[in-house]
Amino acid sequence: MSSLGELRTIAKQTKAQKSEKRAKRTYRDNKAGFVFMLPWITGFFVFTVGPMLVSLYLAFTDYSLLQPPQWTGLDNFTRMWGDERLWKSLEVTFIYVFVSVPFVLALALAVAVLLDRGMRGLSFYRSVFYLPSLMGGSVAVAILWRQVFGYDGIVNGFLGLFGIQGPGWVAHPDYALGTLIVLNIWTFGSPMIIFLAGLRQIPDMYYEAANVDGAGKVRQFFTITLPLLTPIIFFNLVLQTIFAFQNFTQAYVVSGGTGGPSDSTLFYTLYLYQQAFNSPMQMGYASAMAWLLVLFIGGLTAVNFWLSKYWVFYDD
């Protein structure tokens, strides 16, 4: 009896020792992990979290860079209400996002489906379609765009063949935003690549079964491909929306930094930049604007996730 009891205590003790050892080991493992992550963590705190906290503080100040920031409470935020150019810039940005993102996704999906049929020279076409999204955000392409849609540009040259004299598209308030939307749609390459990968994931057996049942290609696309692809569509939608909100380079270069003509391409980020760096520099107001943008993007992403419950279908 007593020996049995002794045995039990020993067993308990070794168990305890073992778990203690395990805890120590996991701790040691984690420590190694943290050491390896240190460069990233340092960068994250010094270059991302730090500046974000500072900008949060600056959002409540009047700061011209030249003199120390002065605490002004909620002044910057109340000023936003009365700033008609800020509302104009929101309008421009929302039109840009809501028009260009659906087009980008539709075009990316269409081209991905075409390429997925396994044609000859696939990798060549894939690269060709992907190329614009590598260059689309660059200054060079924005300058090219200015020329293409300028008064003496290729577009008007082409229209001239039919006897039509077009306006300077990038310099006309009715069309300037349109040219930027076209530019964004043109860069559909990266969602296309992701769609292609998604299409490859759909098992052939579904299509085989559908073939046996006599379903046509169109029917197969809508009842098999599209539902199984919804997680990928969702992923691309969220990403493209965030990217579109943050567009800056193209608008900056095409409008020469003005957001013109008549504020028709005054993107939110461009207006923010103007507030921060054009004289008189208002870093505080710009910081407050940046935080409003964070709220907008965060809010819209949350809505996206909430809506996803109703249309995104997870296979597993």
Binding site: L66, Q67, H172, P261, F277, S279
Partner: protein, 437 residues
Amino acid sequence: MERTQRRRTHQKILLPLALAGLTISACGGGSGTEATGEYDPDAEITLTIAWWGNDERVQMMMEVFDLFEDEHPNIAIQAEPTGNPEDLFNRLSTDFAAGGGPDIFALGGSMPLEYGAAGQLLDLYTVEDYVDIESYGEFSRVDATIADELYGLPTGGNSIGLLLNERLFDEVGVPLPEEDWGWDDFVEIAGEISAGTPDDVYGLDLRIQDALGVYVSQSTEYGLYDWDGGLLASEDELEPWFNQTVEMVENGGLPDPSIIVEHHNVTPDQSLFGTGHAAMSFAFTNQMPSYTAALGDDPIHVVAPPTDTGLVGADVSPSQFWSINAGTEHPQAAAMLMDFMLNNHEVAEIIKDDRGLPFNPEILETVQPLLDPASADAAEYLLQIMEDPIGKPPAPPGASVQRELSQRMESDILFGERTVEEAVQYWINHMEEQLEQ
């Protein structure tokens, strides 16, 4: 034992480091505008200098620095040029916020006043033993002076004139304008030239940012602003100006609004005038070399803008300034470099009128015979204006929004987004708001 020793070595290294850190931050934090200490010709000094401009200007400056370093072997110059002014100003303001920045740099417009008021610039009177200030007339210092402190010396003078492409005038058979011509004649001539030339050639390349101030000065005498930093321009000058612009779009003297907007912020060589697509344009005189180079064989002539009041409206103002960082460790050496760039004859032969026609009369004498024909033409115009100076007040802090605002209102009017009256009211309200701050 070994351990303590190691710790001591650490301390040996760390202590001076910490002290150095303290000193550096102390230097950065100090924003006094007093020059302290004496210049020591034996001390090894490195001066950093920043400006904006093209490659040609960089070459020019490098040549100047070589000469300076030959004369002062103890001073090394580190050049930090940028392509366009905005890049330099962005860099300077972030540098100032961090408590650093180059020792000496170029500034333009109302920047010497804005930076000076913020305590970032050295009062040049504190180093007047090292840089010749006396050769610069009172009028050329106004734009950099606050309460008897001088925050920059002008690199040269500039004025706005009307450039004419003589070839296009000849082609249409319109005589070059007489001296006493009014704005109605101007509008008419612009329309005539457009009508008499191919479809893609126009009477006027309108750069509002250059012309508006002149137009307003002809009525208000002192320009857009008064001596207290307030707004002098009113509906009475602004509405006729914009109405006239609309008139010229209607009579064809100006191109389609989208073409005007497309060319708002282009460099001279890409402008309508610079590419031979317009017969007239308002421009700063120091842009003459750029326009001449762009137009090749077409002769350019500079004349005074048209006027209805008898006043020219154009004034000679500094094109750029050299200013010294208030936080520099070498105020005297920086002042010597400034003096060398502005007041040395050998240097003047290299720089000529690259940053405007020199204000120092002796340097001007050296430079004038060396100018090419177009620049000489501009110089003559400039000297003529200088004979009867208006003495405009400096552009006050906050005035730097004028250019962008005027362009925005112009395109709003031309595209029918606002009426002339609405745009002018917006312009006035917005300017007043900016000037108050």
